[in-house]
Symmetry: C2
Subunit: 150 residues, 2 copies
Amino acid sequence: MIDDNERRFMDEAIMEARIGADEGGIPIGAVLVIDDKIVGRGHNQRVQRNSVILHAEMDCLESAGRLSSSEYRRATPYTTLSPCDMCSGAVLLYGIPCVVIGENQNFRGPEEYLRERGVTTVVLNHADCIEMMRQFIKENPSLWNEDIGG
Amino acid sequence: MIDDNERRFMDEAIMEARIGADEGGIPIGAVLVIDDKIVGRGHNQRVQRNSVILHAEMDCLESAGRLSSSEYRRATPYTTLSPCDMCSGAVLLYGIPCVVIGENQNFRGPEEYLRERGVTTVVLNHADCIEMMRQFIKENPSLWNEDIGG
């Protein structure tokens, strides 16, 4: 059961993913929410900026700027795809308590490790996220592998 | 016992840290080495670029550009300070097999977890690295805390 906030903010993350796709990039998007407001947004920039670190969650954290510890502790990233080791590590670094994940069917990062470290993970398995990634991976297997270090 | 390569490449990482310090930034530096050649270098950019993701290791990985999986699997980052959760996560994402760490006395990231995931960690506890960080933390405690999500 997806609640209204989860739906609303995941829709914004999906919008970011679609912007990325329109730019010719990998369709993964994220928004960062604090106190029910979006304070950062971003999408994967591997193709657009030849970046190896700007996954959607990283681009989103960077766009939110330098936040205080108490802000990070009220922050929730909404991301269209299960966060990889790097993005999960960024969540741990900043003590972010909860991550909302669009889907983990096409890729699953270290969600169990996040939970062991005290992070709540909410996995929506949203049909639009699943289909968007499935299609992209099918059509761009080598680019996808590059993005996940495969 | 530090071997010649470890000393040479760590000296380059320390040089990066000193460039960062000269810019008014946090003095942490890194270089990425493949087949005995430096292919990327960087330093913490929190102050200089208001970045929350450009830790030294991330700046260094980004500067190396989009590498192939087989290149990452021959790559060794040399970093002046024990990698945090985010930077350790980037190492895991790309399947980097070994990290050489200048020191872990002033800060220790998830080194045990890296080892559990199959990454070799070499900790030099190099006197210059320890002293550089000790001095910086003493003089800039709040900036330092911000950088490690404290």
